[in-house]
Symmetry: C2
Subunit: 254 residues, 2 copies
């Protein structure tokens, strides 16, 4: 039986990035797409708890079932696995995101939220992002990279409870230097809110901010991307800081 590949994203079902990803996935197996009906960027792993969710049928053809759902990326994934997949998926893909999810951007990303969720559910999963925010971004140079990584993961699997966060530099195929396994860079978002005054004189705040990653180490994703490589960060959902289990022993004396 052909592999079953479940796909979602956070830019919405109609985005170019998810279309480019779906094209490649169909070369490998049967595909179910369940993606947000609207843009759901920066939704992290949020869940829709207060309202019911509707699902719209987008496209049904040989080897492809596509749906749009008004939930978050994590809602999409849970719902698809339980109610819209003909069997357990062999692989979960998310993206291709319009814009970077490297470094700490993984914390906020809906695209990567779905990947982390897939990991909790026991599925191998890969999140793809292109370092180009535009809705018209060209995803063609990303497709050979997606093809290589999907093929590798279908053939070899991933370690248990590990997923991949893949970021692709905005370069022509010929200029991409290769694929580098990396660690997540340490970074920070600064100056996140701008104060403005509305026409009635009342203050409001708009989200803004700049990403700051000083001196990324050569083993990190920011370094790889800045040097023309595709970054692949193996990630997991266990947030425990194990060294601190030793150093904080005295906190137990209550």
């Amino acid at each position: 039986m052909k592999p079953l590949i479940l796909i979602t994203n956070d830019d919405g079902y109609a985005a170019r990035g998810i279309q480019a990803l779906t094209e490649v996935a169909r070369e490998f197996g049967e595909v179910v797409v369940m993606a947000p009906a609207q843009n759901a960027s920066a939704k992290s792993l949020s869940l829709t708890t207060k309202v019911p969710i509707r699902v719209r049928d987008i496209r049904q053809e040989e080897g492809l079932s596509s749906y749009a759902c008004d939930g978050t990326p994590v809602d999409c994934l849970k719902l698809a696995v339980e109610h819209f997949c003909p069997r357990r998926p062999d692989l979960v893909l998310s993206g291709i995101n319009h814009g970077s999810n490297s470094s700490i951007n993984i914390l906020y990303s809906g695209t990567m939220g779905a990947v982390l969720e897939a990991t909790t559910l026991g599925f191998p999963a890969i999140g793809f992002s292109l370092l180009h925010h535009s809705p018209d971004a060209d995803f063609e140079p990303s497709q050979p990279i997606v093809r290589h990584l999907v093929s590798h993961v279908l053939d070899h699997g991933l370690p248990p409870d590990v997923a991949l966060n893949v970021n692709i530099p905005r370069l022509a195929s010929a200029d991409i230097k290769g694929i580098r396994l990396c660690r997540q860079s340490k970074a920070q978002w600064r100056d996140s809110f701008e104060k403005r005054i509305d026409p009635l004189g009342r203050p409001y705040w708009w989200l803004t901010g700049k990403f700051v990653c000083d001196n990324p180490t050569t083993d990190s994703d920011e370094w790889a991307l800045a040097h023309g490589y595709v970054s692949v960060v193996p990630i997991h959902t266990d947030y425990t800081d194990f060294p601190a289990l030793e150093s904080l022993q005295s906190i137990q004396q209550f």
Copy 2:
């Protein structure tokens, strides 16, 4: 100068849990509260990107400034640090959450999303949750635990980039066995969506689901809570799976 403590949560500024937390925090220093105006549970680290944010002044008195904001817990934290704190906070607290954020619940929690955000901004941070969902939950037995942990962290600090995920069993003070440093348990949410039919015959889905943690190990938070202990999991925001950096080397051959 007294320490400055910044407080948020995801149950909203009016919840009993944040009031109990604020009471204890005020024993230690000056407090700024910036919390969601409405319940923002299960918002994870989501950001408000499409609409501006308003802030409402709730209370100003000696040693306490309290605000409600219509953003997510992460929005609250960023906004408070940049525009509402008189100086850099010495400590960030979140909660006390009405309901557990142990194990993988940390992935979805807005309360813990704010704690992870605080870590990216370089602040020591503690998230507190009581294993009792009710809006009327009794937080009095939680207060001595909060007092102990806040005091310990103000006195000794935390390792760089490490925060604490504290869960408190629903027990009378006398029945709490102690505080245990733990690792995050592996678990899963199952059967997450229920299909229903609306009065016009159209399907919709409601979020539901049950938390499943089979045979938690004795070093884990679920084990500690099930045995009457407060669980303290040191956490970080680096999702890299370091063992996989070795085992996945061949994926770079592109």
